[in-house]
Amino acid sequence: MLKLLQKIRSIVNKTQVFKSIFRHGYPDTDGNRALVMFSNVILHLHPVRVRRGALKIKYTWCLGGLTFLFFILLAITGVILMFYYVPDTRRAYNDIRDLGTVIYFGSLFRAVHRWSAHAMVFSVWMHMTRVFMTGSYKPPREFNWVVGVILLVTTLVLSWTGYLLPWDQLALWAVTVGSKMAEATPFIGAAGPFGPELGRNSGNDMAFALLGGTVVGQSALLRFYVLHCLALPLITALFIAVHFWRIRKDGFSGPL
């Protein structure tokens, strides 16, 4: 059986189609194992060789990689959810309910999206903790730590903007709590220190900019939808790219 599979593989590997896609043989020789890292767009995030220490699970706990995995899962399930969801206060709630009742696997996609979001928030904190504990922010990696902090913030804001979209009681009031805080921003919030002195009122302050109005309503839903499905994922992906690029450039910190 194994022999047969190996035979099939060696035939497949020699076909024009296989070669046209992968540009080299199956990575079972050192040469091809190096080539696969150069010629595959996803794998080329990696170097060809790593130090043994970098493979220690007890060093990274895989946390950065898992954060990235959850981001990918969120992107995939998020696109599927977008097919069924319209950011209109009159139908958003029903669209979400339909996912659980009439759409094949709708409930599953929604659950995976939600659990991945929780998991990403958790693992990004844990990853930061690991990076701190191993002192990996020290030169030359200072700037990548800064990029990391930006990713931490975008991750949290991504989760928070997504929280509003189901347009249920949980969503509305969780975001209302947040908008009350925006209202209290010093200098630019209507209820914040020196806000009124500087002419801020409920029609021109920070909370108004966030919600596109004075209450969490249609404009807020649209804003959060666009931020959640377009702007923030793009920004996050961009900074993840920078983050990975810098890991390659700065070298990985692990032990020998």
């Binding site: 990696h46 599953l108 929604r110 929780h118």
Partner: protein, 284 residues
């Protein structure tokens, strides 16, 4: 022609320098005997991690689908209204601080503080391995802030119920807790009455009538920072010398501000202090 040659030799020497450099770093750090090929060693590890995590996520999704409550309505406010769990630490701070501090200033300090960490910690020790002994201050400082963050989240998730009151796991979550007889007071009022200070303002600053008690609260507040900045400067000279003037002051500012958060919580819990500082524009 000669230009071309010199250019070439220039390039050549650059190249050989580069080659030397590569050889040197390679022999120092990543000699082939210390490295392994990423395929299969790392790639397979990643594949296993991906499969396990996806299995866990799928399992959780099947046993516990995403919740959907009633349709959003501005007319009925749920009690309590809780933010998502990762912001419950900040929401819990609302018990002790006004929203401009809990929701805006403190998070901003946290973010700026995190960004500054690599630039404030000059010690080359403990890079690339776990160690507590070689970097006690940074480990304790970071660990303290992180624990504070997670403890507040846990309180928000598990111990807060109706009216944001404290609920033990064995309390019935459907009944309101009896309203306590606690009467919170501003620090300046407490000082005024215990020390018998006059209520007459010493001077006024716009809407701000500055009393003796008022000055005292400012003195206490600034004294907290003052002591925090001075004591390590005087008694931990080595700590100061290693950091230098700028790093020291930034580090201490964020460190003292962080310690101020539990300080305020204790003042509130143990001495019923509502605000430490009161001005017409902000309360603290």
């Amino acid at each position: 022609m000669s230009e071309k040659i010199s250019e070439d030799s220039n390039a050549l020497s650059k190249q050989s320098k580069l080659a030397q450099l590569i050889k040197k770093t390679a022999s120092e750090k990543i000699g082939p005997e210390n490295t392994v090929l990423v395929w299969p060693n790392l790639v397979y590890l990643e594949l296993i991690a991906i499969m396990v995590s996806v299995a866990v996520i799928l399992f959780l999704s099947l046993v516990s689908p995403a919740p959907l409550e009633e349709l959003a309505s501005a007319d009925t406010t749920p009690n309590p209204t809780k933010a998502p769990w990762y912001f419950l630490g900040l929401q819990e701070l609302l018990v002790y601080f006004d929203p401009w501090l809990a929701g805006m200033v403190l998070p901003t300090f946290i973010i700026i503080g995190l960004v500054l960490i690599p630039y404030l910690d000059p010690s080359p020790l403990g890079k690339g391995y776990y160690t507590f002994k070689e970097r006690k201050f940074s480990m304790l400082g970071f660990g303290f802030g992180l624990s504070l963050w997670w403890v507040l989240i846990l309180i928000g998730v598990f111990f807060r119920g109706l009216d944001w009151s404290w609920y033990w796991p064995w309390d019935d979550p459907h009944f309101h807790q009896p309203a306590g007889a606690v009467k919170l007071m501003d620090l300046e009022i407490i000082l005024q009455s215990t020390l018998g200070l006059s209520e007459a303002p010493l001077t006024t600053l716009g809407r701000y009538a500055i009393t003796k008690a008022n000055v005292l609260t400012w003195a206490l507040f600034l004294g907290f920072y003052g002591v925090g900045f001075t004591v390590p400067f005087l008694f931990f000279r080595d700590f100061y010398r290693k950091l230098g003037f700028v790093r020291y002051n930034l580090t201490m500012f964020f460190f003292i501000s962080m310690m101020g958060v539990p300080m305020k919580i204790f003042l509130r819990l143990l001495a019923d202090v509502k605000y430490v500082l009161v001005t017409p524009w902000f309360k603290f």
